[in-house]
């Protein structure tokens, strides 16, 4: 699929960016799942002119507006990004998207599980980056934890290093395409939620809600989709150490064609700021694309 602008993230920043870019006649597609937005499932009471309302209601109305303006919501996640314009994105359903410009509106992601043993064994078998640490698990046992595309990709990757790879996924949101890839690669799937990581001095096992105990050397916690920091680096943008992406007043990242808006650009993490930046990023990207043609 060839488009002008790919917006990564379908929370308030991404949706507002899609509305403004589409109204400026750019061909816009939006990646990500609205249910992954921090706004989904919360109430909003501090947004201009809007009484207490459910976040998901405002979000669905925003998505309808963006669709009416011409934006296409893909519902799939980005798993890889490359190129310097056009940018090429690999999606979790196996498809590929080529875009002249990209708006990173991925928000801030929850990376921690919050279970006993997770903090204690960080660096002693617990890792949040399978790509970084897979090499230390050659011939060992590994467990990947997570429900979405990043966990599926990591599980498939670990099978090339570990002697035994397990994938704990209790509410799978990864695409069938990626689940099949992980399973075909040899990852053993477990459908129960993790409750504790145990060991003496280092990780030795992970315990699941259904009572299963998996003996392992490593636990790779990979929640959500590919992180904004990884996508940014794929595109040549260096994030800050807190994973936020620095932008100027036009929501420009410093790399031609790459813009960012919303929580991913740093605090305040507020809907009002997200939509304000979304508007700016959408217009900046549309202007950029127009300048290329």
């Amino acid at each position: 699929m060839d488009i002008d602008i790919l917006v990564i993230g379908s929370g308030p920043a991404g949706v507002q960016a899609a509305i403004h870019a589409s109204r400026k006649k750019a061909a816009v597609a939006v990646a990500g799942k609205p249910s992954s937005s921090a706004m989904y499932g919360t109430g909003i009471e501090n947004y201009f002119g809007t009484g207490p309302r459910r976040g998901e209601d405002i979000l669905s109305e925003g998505i309808r507006q963006a669709e009416a303006a011409g934006a296409v919501f893909l519902g799939s996640n980005v798993i890889s990004a490359s190129g310097t314009g056009p940018f090429v994105f690999g999606m979790d359903d196996g498809s590929e998207i080529r875009a002249l410009s990209v708006i990173i509106a991925t928000g801030i992601s929850r990376r921690k599980l919050g279970i006993p043993g997770e903090k204690e064994f960080f660096g002693k078998g617990v890792s949040y980056c399978a790509v970084c640490d897979c090499n230390f698990y050659k011939g060992k046992r590994a467990v990947v934890v997570g429900n979405d595309s990043e966990a599926a990709v990591s599980a498939a990757l670990m099978t090339s290093y570990a002697a035994e790879t397990h994938w704990v996924t209790w509410n799978t949101e990864a695409s069938d395409h990626l689940v099949r890839r992980a399973r075909d690669a040899g990852a053993v799937m477990h459908g129960s939620k993790p409750v504790a990581i145990e060991g003496a001095g280092k990780t030795e096992s992970i315990v699941l809600e259904d009572g299963t105990r998996i003996i392992t050397d490593g636990v790779f916690i990979e929640l959500g989709a590919r992180s904004s920091a990884d996508i940014a680096m794929d595109l040549g943008v260096m994030p800050q150490t807190d994973d936020s992406i620095k932008v100027d007043g036009n929501c420009f990242t410093g790399v031609a064609g790459v813009f960012a808006c919303g929580d991913v650009t740093g605090k305040p993490w507020q809907v009002a700021k997200a939509v304000g930046q979304g508007c700016t990023a959408g217009m900046s990207a549309a202007d950029y694309v127009r300048g290329l043609k």
Binding site: G123, D133, M233
Partner: protein, 103 residues
């Protein structure tokens, strides 16, 4: 200046400097690449106080095993040839300085 370490100069570097900070990293590791500029800054900020180096764990797996490194980025801190601290994960410069106990 950040010194590049490998199997042949690792021990002599640790032995010839009283306060040592070593950034263990690998090229495909995103958080390690984000740590890189922080380490460069630390090397210049702490010049004369702390000897700063980096070690590619992919090319020097023996050292990684010796110090039980299984997640990167990992920072190794040596004082008078003794490993006194191991800091795992990407963190801002201020956190590293405070972990080193430098005022």
């Amino acid at each position: 200046m950040v010194t590049e370490l490998n199997e042949s100069n690792f021990d002599s570097f640790v032995e010839s400097n009283s306060f040592v900070l070593i950034d263990c990293w690998a090229p495909w590791c995103g958080p390690c690449r984000r740590m890189g500029p922080v380490i460069e800054e630390l090397a210049s900020d702490l010049a004369g106080k702390v000897a700063v180096a980096k070690l590619n764990t992919d090319e020097n797996q023996g050292i990684a095993i010796r110090f039980q490194i299984n997640a990167i980025p990992t920072l190794l801190v040596f004082k008078d040839k003794v490993l006194v601290d191991t800091l795992v994960g990407l963190r801002p410069k201020e956190d590293i300085i405070s972990a080193l106990g430098i005022q």
